[in-house]
Protein backbone atom coordinates (compact mmCIF):
# COMPACT_ATOMS: atom_id res chain seq x y z
CA UNK A 1 0.00 0.00 0.00
CA UNK A 2 1.23 3.44 -0.89
CA UNK A 3 1.03 6.00 1.88
CA UNK A 4 0.39 8.83 -0.56
CA UNK A 5 -3.10 8.66 -2.05
CA UNK A 6 -2.98 7.92 -5.75
CA UNK A 7 -4.14 10.48 -8.33
CA UNK A 8 -6.39 8.02 -10.15
CA UNK A 9 -7.98 5.02 -8.55
CA UNK A 10 -10.11 2.47 -10.40
CA UNK A 11 -11.79 -0.23 -8.31
CA UNK A 12 -13.59 -3.15 -9.90
CA UNK A 13 -14.87 -1.10 -12.82
CA UNK A 14 -17.41 -2.83 -15.01
CA UNK A 15 -19.06 -1.44 -18.11
CA UNK A 16 -21.90 -2.94 -20.09
CA UNK A 17 -23.09 -1.48 -23.39
CA UNK A 18 -26.84 -1.88 -23.64
CA UNK A 19 -27.55 -3.20 -27.10
CA UNK A 20 -30.82 -3.54 -28.97
CA UNK A 21 -30.66 -7.32 -29.01
CA UNK A 22 -28.23 -8.14 -26.27
CA UNK A 23 -25.98 -6.38 -23.82
CA UNK A 24 -22.26 -6.36 -24.35
CA UNK A 25 -19.76 -6.60 -21.52
CA UNK A 26 -16.97 -4.22 -22.55
CA UNK A 27 -15.01 -3.85 -19.31
CA UNK A 28 -14.98 -6.21 -16.40
CA UNK A 29 -13.36 -5.85 -13.00
CA UNK A 30 -10.61 -3.37 -13.84
CA UNK A 31 -8.62 -2.19 -10.85
CA UNK A 32 -5.51 -0.06 -10.90
CA UNK A 33 -4.03 3.08 -9.39
CA UNK A 34 -2.04 5.85 -11.02
CA UNK A 35 0.24 8.25 -9.16
CA UNK A 36 0.33 11.90 -10.11
CA UNK A 37 2.91 12.51 -12.83
CA UNK A 38 2.92 8.95 -14.11
CA UNK A 39 2.71 8.01 -17.77
CA UNK A 40 0.53 4.93 -17.86
CA UNK A 41 0.37 2.87 -21.02
CA UNK A 42 -2.84 0.93 -21.48
CA UNK A 43 -2.24 -1.83 -23.99
CA UNK A 44 -4.43 -4.57 -25.38
CA UNK A 45 -5.83 -6.05 -28.57
CA UNK A 46 -8.41 -4.26 -30.68
CA UNK A 47 -11.86 -4.23 -29.17
CA UNK A 48 -10.71 -5.07 -25.64
CA UNK A 49 -12.22 -1.94 -24.12
CA UNK A 50 -9.34 0.55 -24.01
CA UNK A 51 -11.31 3.41 -25.50
CA UNK A 52 -14.23 2.54 -23.26
CA UNK A 53 -12.03 2.81 -20.15
CA UNK A 54 -10.59 6.09 -21.34
CA UNK A 55 -14.08 7.48 -21.87
CA UNK A 56 -15.05 6.39 -18.38
CA UNK A 57 -12.02 8.27 -17.05
CA UNK A 58 -13.04 11.29 -19.11
CA UNK A 59 -16.52 11.18 -17.61
CA UNK A 60 -18.06 10.57 -21.02
CA UNK A 61 -19.38 7.11 -20.17
CA UNK A 62 -21.09 5.81 -17.09
CA UNK A 63 -20.09 2.47 -15.58
CA UNK A 64 -22.22 -0.18 -13.93
CA UNK A 65 -20.08 -1.29 -11.04
CA UNK A 66 -16.99 -0.21 -9.19
CA UNK A 67 -15.62 3.21 -8.36
CA UNK A 68 -13.58 5.70 -10.35
CA UNK A 69 -11.84 8.41 -8.44
CA UNK A 70 -9.58 11.07 -9.89
CA UNK A 71 -7.78 13.60 -7.72
CA UNK A 72 -7.32 13.60 -3.99
CA UNK A 73 -7.66 15.93 -1.09
CA UNK A 74 -4.13 17.15 -1.60
CA UNK A 75 -4.41 17.20 -5.38
CA UNK A 76 -7.81 18.50 -6.42
CA UNK A 77 -9.33 17.60 -9.76
CA UNK A 78 -11.91 19.61 -11.67
CA UNK A 79 -13.36 17.34 -14.34
CA UNK A 80 -14.18 20.23 -16.68
CA UNK A 81 -10.77 21.88 -16.59
CA UNK A 82 -8.34 19.12 -15.80
CA UNK A 83 -8.73 16.79 -18.75
CA UNK A 84 -6.95 17.13 -22.07
CA UNK A 85 -7.73 14.63 -24.80
CA UNK A 86 -5.87 13.44 -27.87
CA UNK A 87 -7.37 10.95 -30.30
CA UNK A 88 -6.07 8.87 -33.17
CA UNK A 89 -7.22 11.59 -35.57
CA UNK A 90 -5.98 15.13 -34.88
CA UNK A 91 -9.57 16.45 -35.19
CA UNK A 92 -8.41 19.98 -35.90
CA UNK A 93 -11.02 22.41 -37.16
CA UNK A 94 -10.23 22.91 -40.85
CA UNK A 95 -11.36 26.50 -40.86
CA UNK A 96 -9.18 27.62 -37.98
CA UNK A 97 -5.51 28.39 -38.06
CA UNK A 98 -3.27 26.25 -35.86
CA UNK A 99 -3.11 28.89 -33.11
CA UNK A 100 -6.90 29.23 -33.10
CA UNK A 101 -7.25 25.45 -32.98
CA UNK A 102 -4.97 25.22 -29.98
CA UNK A 103 -7.01 27.92 -28.25
CA UNK A 104 -10.33 26.08 -28.61
CA UNK A 105 -10.40 24.61 -25.06
CA UNK A 106 -9.48 27.98 -23.58
CA UNK A 107 -12.36 29.59 -25.48
CA UNK A 108 -14.82 26.96 -24.35
CA UNK A 109 -13.73 27.27 -20.73
CA UNK A 110 -13.81 31.06 -20.95
CA UNK A 111 -10.22 31.49 -19.82
CA UNK A 112 -8.57 34.91 -20.14
CA UNK A 113 -7.56 34.92 -23.79
CA UNK A 114 -4.41 37.03 -23.62
CA UNK A 115 -2.83 34.59 -21.20
CA UNK A 116 -4.12 31.60 -23.12
CA UNK A 117 -2.64 32.98 -26.32
CA UNK A 118 0.76 33.41 -24.70
CA UNK A 119 0.54 29.91 -23.29
CA UNK A 120 -0.50 28.49 -26.66
CA UNK A 121 2.53 30.19 -28.18
CA UNK A 122 4.81 28.46 -25.69
CA UNK A 123 3.11 25.13 -26.27
CA UNK A 124 3.46 25.42 -30.04
CA UNK A 125 7.12 26.06 -29.46
CA UNK A 126 7.33 23.04 -27.21
CA UNK A 127 5.77 20.76 -29.83
CA UNK A 128 7.99 22.27 -32.52
CA UNK A 129 5.33 24.20 -34.40
CA UNK A 130 6.21 27.78 -33.54
CA UNK A 131 6.52 28.66 -37.22
CA UNK A 132 3.09 27.27 -38.05
CA UNK A 133 0.79 29.15 -35.67
CA UNK A 134 -0.81 30.96 -38.60
CA UNK A 135 -1.03 27.96 -40.93
CA UNK A 136 -4.18 26.04 -41.67
CA UNK A 137 -4.32 22.35 -40.74
CA UNK A 138 -4.23 21.25 -44.38
CA UNK A 139 -0.82 22.84 -44.69
CA UNK A 140 0.56 20.50 -42.01
CA UNK A 141 1.65 16.87 -42.24
CA UNK A 142 -0.16 14.22 -40.21
CA UNK A 143 2.54 14.22 -37.53
CA UNK A 144 2.48 18.02 -37.28
CA UNK A 145 -1.30 18.01 -36.98
CA UNK A 146 -1.06 15.51 -34.16
CA UNK A 147 1.47 17.74 -32.40
CA UNK A 148 -0.96 20.63 -32.70
CA UNK A 149 -3.61 18.36 -31.16
CA UNK A 150 -1.24 17.69 -28.25
CA UNK A 151 -0.70 21.41 -27.77
CA UNK A 152 -4.47 21.86 -27.77
CA UNK A 153 -4.80 19.19 -25.07
CA UNK A 154 -2.36 21.13 -22.89
CA UNK A 155 -3.54 24.69 -23.43
CA UNK A 156 -5.90 24.85 -20.45
CA UNK A 157 -3.20 23.37 -18.26
CA UNK A 158 -5.10 20.20 -17.30
CA UNK A 159 -3.74 17.77 -14.76
CA UNK A 160 -4.62 14.68 -16.75
CA UNK A 161 -4.01 13.95 -20.42
CA UNK A 162 -5.94 11.09 -21.99
CA UNK A 163 -4.53 9.81 -25.26
CA UNK A 164 -6.29 7.24 -27.42
CA UNK A 165 -3.81 5.71 -29.88
CA UNK A 166 -2.59 9.20 -30.74
CA UNK A 167 0.11 7.94 -33.11
CA UNK A 168 -1.85 5.03 -34.55
CA UNK A 169 -2.45 6.73 -37.87
CA UNK A 170 1.18 7.76 -38.40
CA UNK A 171 3.88 5.93 -40.31
CA UNK A 172 6.41 3.95 -38.27
CA UNK A 173 9.20 6.52 -38.53
CA UNK A 174 7.05 9.49 -37.57
CA UNK A 175 5.59 7.42 -34.79
CA UNK A 176 9.01 6.78 -33.24
CA UNK A 177 9.80 10.47 -33.47
CA UNK A 178 6.50 11.35 -31.84
CA UNK A 179 7.21 8.88 -29.04
CA UNK A 180 10.43 10.73 -28.23
CA UNK A 181 8.60 14.04 -28.48
CA UNK A 182 5.90 12.85 -26.13
CA UNK A 183 8.46 11.74 -23.54
CA UNK A 184 10.08 15.15 -23.75
CA UNK A 185 6.74 16.96 -23.46
CA UNK A 186 5.75 14.76 -20.55
CA UNK A 187 9.08 15.49 -18.87
CA UNK A 188 8.67 19.23 -19.36
CA UNK A 189 5.04 19.45 -18.36
CA UNK A 190 4.96 16.92 -15.55
CA UNK A 191 1.41 15.89 -16.41
CA UNK A 192 -0.24 12.61 -15.60
CA UNK A 193 -0.83 10.82 -18.89
CA UNK A 194 -2.94 7.79 -19.70
CA UNK A 195 -1.77 6.54 -23.08
CA UNK A 196 -3.83 3.95 -24.92
CA UNK A 197 -2.10 1.89 -27.59
CA UNK A 198 -2.12 -1.54 -29.13
CA UNK A 199 1.60 -1.29 -29.76
CA UNK A 200 3.35 -3.42 -27.17
CA UNK A 201 6.76 -1.89 -27.82
CA UNK A 202 5.30 1.58 -27.68
CA UNK A 203 3.59 0.80 -24.38
CA UNK A 204 6.82 -0.28 -22.72
CA UNK A 205 8.95 2.40 -24.33
CA UNK A 206 6.74 5.22 -23.07
CA UNK A 207 5.15 3.97 -19.89
CA UNK A 208 6.36 4.32 -16.35
CA UNK A 209 3.57 1.82 -15.78
CA UNK A 210 1.81 -0.55 -18.14
CA UNK A 211 -1.73 -1.82 -17.76
CA UNK A 212 -2.46 -4.83 -19.95
CA UNK A 213 -6.02 -5.61 -20.98
CA UNK A 214 -7.20 -8.81 -22.64
CA UNK A 215 -10.21 -9.19 -24.89
CA UNK A 216 -13.34 -11.28 -24.46
CA UNK A 217 -13.66 -11.56 -21.49
CA UNK A 218 -12.56 -7.95 -21.35
CA UNK A 219 -10.51 -7.67 -18.24
CA UNK A 220 -7.24 -6.51 -16.81
CA UNK A 221 -4.48 -9.04 -17.22
CA UNK A 222 -1.55 -7.20 -15.68
CA UNK A 223 -0.40 -3.93 -14.19
CA UNK A 224 3.27 -3.35 -13.59
CA UNK A 225 5.85 -0.60 -13.20
CA UNK A 226 8.43 -0.30 -15.95
CA UNK A 227 11.71 0.08 -14.18
CA UNK A 228 13.69 1.67 -17.00
CA UNK A 229 15.26 5.07 -16.41
CA UNK A 230 14.24 8.27 -18.18
CA UNK A 231 15.24 9.97 -20.37
CA UNK A 232 14.74 7.07 -22.71
CA UNK A 233 16.24 6.85 -26.17
CA UNK A 234 15.55 4.53 -29.06
CA UNK A 235 18.56 2.38 -28.10
CA UNK A 236 16.51 1.26 -25.12
CA UNK A 237 14.59 -1.02 -27.45
CA UNK A 238 17.69 -3.15 -27.99
CA UNK A 239 18.27 -3.72 -24.28
CA UNK A 240 17.43 -6.96 -22.58
CA UNK A 241 15.27 -5.42 -19.86
CA UNK A 242 13.10 -3.83 -22.56
CA UNK A 243 12.74 -7.18 -24.30
CA UNK A 244 11.77 -8.84 -21.02
CA UNK A 245 8.93 -6.39 -20.52
CA UNK A 246 7.61 -6.72 -24.05
CA UNK A 247 7.83 -10.52 -23.86
CA UNK A 248 5.85 -10.43 -20.64
CA UNK A 249 3.04 -8.62 -22.47
CA UNK A 250 3.18 -10.84 -25.56
CA UNK A 251 2.81 -13.83 -23.26
CA UNK A 252 -0.21 -12.30 -21.52
CA UNK A 253 -1.86 -11.66 -24.86
CA UNK A 254 -1.23 -15.26 -25.90
CA UNK A 255 1.17 -14.40 -28.66
CA UNK A 256 4.08 -16.53 -27.61
Amino acid sequence: MNAEPSFISLQGVRKVYRGRKEDFLAVSDVTFDVQAGELVSMVGPSGCGKTTLLKILAGLHSHEEGTVRIGSQADSFDAARDIGMVFQQPLLLKWRRVMENVLLPAEILGLPMAEARARAGHLLEMVGLSGFAQSYPYELSGGMQQRAAIARALVHDPKLILMDEPFGALDALTREKMNLELLRIWGESGKTIVFVTHGIQEAVFLGSRVVVLTAGPARMADNFLVDLPYPRGLDLKTQKAFGDYTRRIYKLLGME
Binding site: L60, A79, M85, W95, H156
Partner: protein, 256 residues
Amino acid sequence: MDDYSEKLRKWVLIIVMHLVAVLAWQAWITIGEVEPYIMPAPLDTFATLLEYETYKWGHNTLITAASVYGGFWLAVVVGVVLAVLFSWSRWLNDAFMPLIVSLNMIPKVALGPIFIVWFSYGLGPNILIAFSICFLPILITTTRGLNEVEPELIDLVRTLRASRWQIFTKIQLPGALPFIFSGMKVAVVLAVAGAIVGEFIASEEGLGYLMMQVQVTLDTAGMFMAVLMITAVGVTLYGIVLLLERLLVVRDARME
Protein backbone atom coordinates in the same frame (compact mmCIF):
# COMPACT_ATOMS: atom_id res chain seq x y z
CA MET B 1 3.25 34.99 -58.70
CA ASP B 2 2.70 31.54 -60.10
CA ASP B 3 -0.75 31.60 -58.60
CA TYR B 4 -1.39 34.85 -60.45
CA SER B 5 -0.34 33.59 -63.88
CA GLU B 6 -2.37 30.44 -63.28
CA LYS B 7 -5.43 32.60 -62.59
CA LEU B 8 -4.78 34.74 -65.64
CA ARG B 9 -4.50 31.65 -67.81
CA LYS B 10 -7.83 30.42 -66.48
CA TRP B 11 -9.62 33.69 -67.18
CA VAL B 12 -8.18 34.03 -70.67
CA LEU B 13 -9.36 30.50 -71.39
CA ILE B 14 -12.86 31.27 -70.10
CA ILE B 15 -13.19 34.39 -72.27
CA VAL B 16 -11.70 32.72 -75.34
CA MET B 17 -14.05 29.75 -75.04
CA HIS B 18 -17.08 32.01 -74.79
CA LEU B 19 -15.98 34.00 -77.83
CA VAL B 20 -15.37 30.80 -79.75
CA ALA B 21 -18.90 29.66 -78.93
CA VAL B 22 -20.35 32.93 -80.28
CA LEU B 23 -18.19 32.72 -83.40
CA ALA B 24 -19.22 29.12 -84.01
CA TRP B 25 -22.81 30.21 -83.67
CA GLN B 26 -22.30 33.01 -86.24
CA ALA B 27 -20.42 30.67 -88.58
CA TRP B 28 -23.18 28.09 -88.42
CA ILE B 29 -25.82 30.68 -89.37
CA THR B 30 -23.76 32.15 -92.20
CA ILE B 31 -22.56 28.88 -93.71
CA GLY B 32 -25.72 26.90 -93.08
CA GLU B 33 -28.00 29.70 -94.29
CA VAL B 34 -30.37 29.14 -91.42
CA GLU B 35 -33.68 31.05 -91.49
CA PRO B 36 -33.52 33.90 -88.96
CA TYR B 37 -36.85 32.96 -87.36
CA ILE B 38 -35.44 29.50 -86.62
CA MET B 39 -32.07 30.68 -85.39
CA PRO B 40 -30.97 34.32 -85.29
CA ALA B 41 -27.36 35.33 -85.81
CA PRO B 42 -25.48 36.64 -82.78
CA LEU B 43 -25.26 40.12 -84.29
CA ASP B 44 -29.04 40.28 -84.87
CA THR B 45 -29.55 39.01 -81.36
CA PHE B 46 -27.33 41.67 -79.82
CA ALA B 47 -28.95 44.31 -82.05
CA THR B 48 -32.19 43.90 -80.13
CA LEU B 49 -30.43 45.56 -77.20
CA LEU B 50 -30.68 48.86 -79.08
CA GLU B 51 -34.46 48.70 -79.36
CA TYR B 52 -35.23 49.68 -75.85
CA GLU B 53 -38.80 50.77 -76.47
CA THR B 54 -39.82 47.32 -77.70
CA TYR B 55 -38.02 45.22 -75.15
CA LYS B 56 -37.39 47.41 -72.07
CA TRP B 57 -34.36 45.26 -71.26
CA GLY B 58 -33.35 47.17 -68.17
CA HIS B 59 -36.75 47.03 -66.57
CA ASN B 60 -37.49 43.42 -67.47
CA THR B 61 -34.07 42.21 -66.39
CA LEU B 62 -34.44 44.00 -63.06
CA ILE B 63 -37.83 42.39 -62.51
CA THR B 64 -36.48 38.92 -63.28
CA ALA B 65 -33.40 39.52 -61.15
CA ALA B 66 -35.68 40.59 -58.31
CA SER B 67 -37.64 37.31 -58.43
CA VAL B 68 -34.49 35.20 -58.77
CA TYR B 69 -32.57 36.99 -56.00
CA GLY B 70 -35.63 37.35 -53.80
CA GLY B 71 -36.57 33.69 -54.07
CA PHE B 72 -32.98 32.55 -53.72
CA TRP B 73 -32.04 34.52 -50.62
CA LEU B 74 -35.38 33.78 -49.01
CA ALA B 75 -34.62 30.10 -49.59
CA VAL B 76 -31.14 30.49 -48.09
CA VAL B 77 -32.51 32.13 -44.95
CA VAL B 78 -35.46 29.79 -44.51
CA GLY B 79 -33.45 26.68 -45.45
CA VAL B 80 -30.62 27.41 -43.04
CA VAL B 81 -32.89 28.49 -40.18
CA LEU B 82 -35.06 25.38 -40.55
CA ALA B 83 -31.98 23.15 -40.71
CA VAL B 84 -30.67 24.72 -37.52
CA LEU B 85 -34.01 24.23 -35.76
CA PHE B 86 -34.17 20.63 -36.95
CA SER B 87 -30.66 19.97 -35.72
CA TRP B 88 -31.61 21.34 -32.31
CA SER B 89 -34.79 19.41 -31.94
CA ARG B 90 -35.09 15.81 -32.92
CA TRP B 91 -38.84 16.15 -32.49
CA LEU B 92 -39.15 19.06 -34.92
CA ASN B 93 -37.05 17.18 -37.42
CA ASP B 94 -39.06 13.97 -37.22
CA ALA B 95 -42.35 15.85 -37.35
CA PHE B 96 -41.66 18.27 -40.19
CA MET B 97 -38.99 16.77 -42.42
CA PRO B 98 -41.27 14.11 -43.97
CA LEU B 99 -43.94 16.75 -44.53
CA ILE B 100 -41.48 19.03 -46.27
CA VAL B 101 -40.26 16.18 -48.47
CA SER B 102 -43.86 15.39 -49.45
CA LEU B 103 -44.60 19.05 -50.17
CA ASN B 104 -41.50 19.15 -52.32
CA MET B 105 -43.11 16.57 -54.59
CA ILE B 106 -45.74 19.12 -55.60
CA PRO B 107 -44.83 20.44 -59.06
CA LYS B 108 -44.12 24.01 -58.03
CA VAL B 109 -45.05 25.34 -61.45
CA ALA B 110 -48.57 24.07 -60.92
CA LEU B 111 -48.84 26.45 -58.00
CA GLY B 112 -48.54 29.43 -60.34
CA PRO B 113 -52.23 29.80 -61.13
CA ILE B 114 -53.09 29.36 -57.43
CA PHE B 115 -50.57 31.99 -56.42
CA ILE B 116 -52.15 34.37 -58.92
CA VAL B 117 -55.50 33.89 -57.19
CA TRP B 118 -53.88 34.54 -53.82
CA PHE B 119 -51.51 37.37 -54.63
CA SER B 120 -52.61 38.48 -58.11
CA TYR B 121 -49.95 39.08 -60.80
CA GLY B 122 -46.57 40.47 -59.91
CA LEU B 123 -43.32 39.92 -58.15
CA GLY B 124 -44.73 38.17 -55.07
CA PRO B 125 -45.87 34.92 -56.67
CA ASN B 126 -42.67 34.69 -58.70
CA ILE B 127 -40.47 35.08 -55.68
CA LEU B 128 -42.53 32.38 -53.98
CA ILE B 129 -42.23 30.00 -56.92
CA ALA B 130 -38.47 30.55 -57.15
CA PHE B 131 -38.22 30.10 -53.38
CA SER B 132 -40.29 26.93 -53.25
CA ILE B 133 -38.31 25.30 -56.02
CA CYS B 134 -34.85 25.95 -54.59
CA PHE B 135 -35.19 25.82 -50.83
CA LEU B 136 -35.11 22.07 -50.28
CA PRO B 137 -31.54 21.50 -51.52
CA ILE B 138 -30.37 24.17 -49.10
CA LEU B 139 -32.31 22.66 -46.22
CA ILE B 140 -30.98 19.19 -46.96
CA THR B 141 -27.32 20.09 -47.46
CA THR B 142 -27.33 22.31 -44.38
CA THR B 143 -28.90 19.58 -42.28
CA ARG B 144 -26.25 17.16 -43.46
CA GLY B 145 -23.49 19.64 -42.75
CA LEU B 146 -24.71 20.35 -39.23
CA ASN B 147 -24.78 16.63 -38.44
CA GLU B 148 -21.43 15.93 -40.05
CA VAL B 149 -19.34 16.38 -36.91
CA GLU B 150 -16.86 13.76 -35.84
CA PRO B 151 -18.22 12.14 -32.68
CA GLU B 152 -14.77 12.22 -31.08
CA LEU B 153 -14.64 15.98 -31.51
CA ILE B 154 -17.92 16.17 -29.63
CA ASP B 155 -16.37 13.95 -26.94
CA LEU B 156 -13.42 16.31 -26.73
CA VAL B 157 -15.52 19.41 -26.18
CA ARG B 158 -17.91 17.58 -23.90
CA THR B 159 -15.07 16.88 -21.48
CA LEU B 160 -14.68 20.66 -21.39
CA ARG B 161 -18.39 20.99 -20.60
CA ALA B 162 -19.04 22.93 -23.79
CA SER B 163 -22.58 24.27 -24.00
CA ARG B 164 -24.83 23.37 -26.90
CA TRP B 165 -24.54 26.91 -28.11
CA GLN B 166 -20.73 26.71 -28.06
CA ILE B 167 -20.79 23.44 -29.97
CA PHE B 168 -23.15 25.02 -32.47
CA THR B 169 -21.26 28.26 -33.05
CA LYS B 170 -17.71 26.94 -32.82
CA ILE B 171 -18.05 23.57 -34.51
CA GLN B 172 -21.36 22.78 -36.20
CA LEU B 173 -22.11 25.99 -38.04
CA PRO B 174 -18.62 26.69 -39.42
CA GLY B 175 -18.38 23.00 -40.31
CA ALA B 176 -21.68 23.22 -42.18
CA LEU B 177 -20.67 26.25 -44.26
CA PRO B 178 -19.12 24.27 -47.13
CA PHE B 179 -22.29 22.18 -47.28
CA ILE B 180 -24.49 25.28 -47.26
CA PHE B 181 -22.54 26.67 -50.20
CA SER B 182 -22.78 23.46 -52.19
CA GLY B 183 -26.55 23.58 -51.64
CA MET B 184 -26.60 27.23 -52.69
CA LYS B 185 -24.84 26.45 -55.95
CA VAL B 186 -27.50 23.92 -56.84
CA ALA B 187 -30.20 26.36 -55.72
CA VAL B 188 -29.03 29.18 -58.03
CA VAL B 189 -29.89 27.15 -61.12
CA LEU B 190 -33.24 26.13 -59.70
CA ALA B 191 -34.11 29.66 -58.61
CA VAL B 192 -33.55 30.98 -62.13
CA ALA B 193 -35.67 28.22 -63.63
CA GLY B 194 -38.40 28.82 -61.05
CA ALA B 195 -38.51 32.57 -61.59
CA ILE B 196 -38.72 32.26 -65.37
CA VAL B 197 -41.43 29.63 -65.34
CA GLY B 198 -43.28 31.84 -62.88
CA GLU B 199 -43.03 34.71 -65.32
CA PHE B 200 -44.36 32.51 -68.12
CA ILE B 201 -47.57 31.94 -66.23
CA ALA B 202 -47.98 34.46 -63.47
CA SER B 203 -46.51 37.76 -64.50
CA GLU B 204 -47.00 40.84 -66.64
CA GLU B 205 -43.36 41.84 -66.69
CA GLY B 206 -39.91 40.30 -66.59
CA LEU B 207 -37.83 38.42 -69.13
CA GLY B 208 -40.02 35.32 -69.03
CA TYR B 209 -43.07 37.40 -69.80
CA LEU B 210 -41.18 39.23 -72.54
CA MET B 211 -40.34 35.91 -74.18
CA MET B 212 -43.99 34.89 -74.28
CA GLN B 213 -44.85 38.23 -75.87
CA VAL B 214 -42.24 38.29 -78.64
CA GLN B 215 -42.84 34.62 -79.38
CA VAL B 216 -46.17 35.59 -80.94
CA THR B 217 -44.37 37.56 -83.66
CA LEU B 218 -41.71 34.87 -84.21
CA ASP B 219 -39.10 37.34 -82.95
CA THR B 220 -36.48 34.69 -82.29
CA ALA B 221 -33.71 37.24 -81.90
CA GLY B 222 -35.62 38.89 -79.06
CA MET B 223 -36.21 35.52 -77.43
CA PHE B 224 -32.55 34.61 -77.71
CA MET B 225 -31.51 37.89 -76.18
CA ALA B 226 -33.95 37.30 -73.34
CA VAL B 227 -32.41 33.87 -72.73
CA LEU B 228 -28.95 35.46 -72.67
CA MET B 229 -30.14 38.05 -70.16
CA ILE B 230 -31.67 35.36 -67.97
CA THR B 231 -28.40 33.47 -68.12
CA ALA B 232 -26.53 36.64 -67.15
CA VAL B 233 -28.78 37.06 -64.11
CA GLY B 234 -28.01 33.47 -63.07
CA VAL B 235 -24.29 33.73 -63.73
CA THR B 236 -24.08 36.93 -61.68
CA LEU B 237 -25.80 35.30 -58.72
CA TYR B 238 -23.56 32.25 -59.07
CA GLY B 239 -20.56 34.58 -59.08
CA ILE B 240 -21.75 36.25 -55.90
CA VAL B 241 -22.15 32.86 -54.24
CA LEU B 242 -18.65 31.82 -55.32
CA LEU B 243 -17.23 35.09 -54.04
CA LEU B 244 -18.93 34.69 -50.66
CA GLU B 245 -17.65 31.14 -50.47
CA ARG B 246 -14.16 32.33 -51.19
CA LEU B 247 -14.43 34.86 -48.37
CA LEU B 248 -16.05 32.60 -45.79
CA VAL B 249 -14.78 29.09 -46.40
CA VAL B 250 -11.16 28.03 -46.00
CA ARG B 251 -9.81 26.61 -49.24
CA ASP B 252 -9.35 23.08 -47.97
CA ALA B 253 -12.96 22.86 -46.78
CA ARG B 254 -14.56 24.01 -50.03
CA MET B 255 -16.56 21.46 -51.98
CA GLU B 256 -15.69 22.06 -55.58
